[in-house]
Amino acid sequence: MVDLARPYTPTAADAVAESPRSWRAGIIGFCRRQPLGTVGLALVLVMAVAGLSAEWIAPYSPTSNDFAVMTEPPSWAHIMGTDQFGRDLFSRIVFGARTALIVGFSCAIVGGVAGLVLGVASAYFGGRIDLILQRVMDVVMAFPLIIMALAVIAIFGSGVYNVIVAITIPLIPRCARVVRSSALAIREVPYIDAARACGFGHARIILRHMVPNVLAPFLIMLTAFVGQAILAEASLSYLGLGVQEPTAAWGLMLQGGAEEYASTAPWIAVFPGIAITLTVFGFSLFGDALRDAIDPKLRDR
């Protein structure tokens, strides 16, 4: 018997395990069916551990200069070498993981949740509200990200939090679009009518009855957003519009010195780029595998 007030909400675990088995069985099943996704998950975990426990992993301080060892090639003391200021590249990359983690997750979560609420509300109310919200989304979508970022930085100043604002704003409409189209289908389902007939308020119907049913595509999008936000942060920092020195950030490490010393000290440019690529790679692989595992249409027959 279906409980009207508590609609059945499929989650990632259900879709993977396909039966109410334990989480562990679901995860093992996922790993077996999605080898690439497992690689992605592993990369994400490595990055998360590095970011969370940077103090214990990094052998040196990310900001201390040692002018005796400037632009040193990789060695046992400095496994990724040092930059032009004598800073240990490995330590900076480990601490950069923290910056990327903070920016990636805050942008994805804030942008995603805002997009989720706007998208579902737009579909639920329909009519004029939908029309106006969608036009606003159109404007934000069409507006060049880089100009938005330049303006945000010029108005509020640079720094991690303003970078997050600049990257989050363009993520909102993209999320709202996808959520709206899934929510439009759900709006026509009888249990929404039933909830309305019960006299529930708009907020309750949206939050309890519609949002849980669009969570699957939403969570997949969220993983993709983390990767995109990390990439955007790297680009902005590289242009000098993002995180500022001496904070360790991967994009920042590629700015200035990396190009100047490209031929004499290529390790300065190579390692941060690999860090960005592997991390975003991990999030994308994982997100893809999640989508394939959840979407029965794409499953191999």
Binding site: R135, F143, L150, A154, I155, G227, L231, A258, F281, S284
Partner: protein, 323 residues
Amino acid sequence: MYRYIVNRVLLVVPTLVGAAALVFVLMRLIPGDICMVRLGSGGTSVDPRALAVCHAELGLDRPLVLQFLDFAWGFFRLDFGISMWSGKPVAEEIAARLPISLEIAVMATVVAILIAIPLGTISALWQNSWIDHVVRTVAIAGIATPSFWLGIVSIMVVLDVSHALFGAAWMPPIDYVPFWQDPLRNLSMVILPALTVGYRYSAVTMRMTRSAMLEVLREDYIRTARAKGLAERLIINRHALKNALLPVVTLIGIEFAFLIGGLVVTEQVFNLNGVGRLFVLAVQNQDYTLTQALVMLTVAVFVFANLVVDLLYGWLDPRIRYG
């Protein structure tokens, strides 16, 4: 059908007006203005009288509403006015830098289509085989790799290889020469940026082609075509690919519009004097007219790319009949 087209075209108007308002407000929210940038070099205090003269000269002393209407009316007539920084017409400033950016964008698109559609199709046809895994890994790597880093690395490789082969390091030329004047020099300058941008672009397109093909290949009409014994090649070319290309075309259109914004970073890496560079410069100098024109140009490209894509749908897929 006609009603749909008219409605769809009319929807362009609020987007353009909204973007115009947004850039207008954003630029004026930035502390200071172009006169401060011009007169206050070195952080010395600015003479208020000189500031007033400068404001009057550029029309910045007029009410904001009038300034906005002026800008909107100018955009409507495609007259962008005069750059506040250089004093030259905005159209001239943009026209001088547009060819290189446009050339990179178009070449990147060609690279992307040539790589993406065949590989995406192959990957879908042999889903979960080793070739599918390789193609998908290459595609995801393309999305994960920052194009500016790819640019830096490709320059490093070119430097090292040319040094090893010819004894002298070779660098791509920096000053732009039109293709018809010196094709070789032009291509040697544009090829690296086009490849680095195109790789990312192709990765996105490849993924879309693959998933669209996967969905189409499971349609009933494909089974019917197979059942009546149609050659596999014909099934793929005529039935599957044609329908799968629909979302791919959308993506190519939208990504092309995004390319212009993405060029800011690429031009920085390759030290090219294109529209992306002009963008950063215009905002930094607080050149209102130039920034507004550039933003409106990008937004217009985006909006019209979307419009064309939506209208193309009806042509590519006869099932869609707009009510």
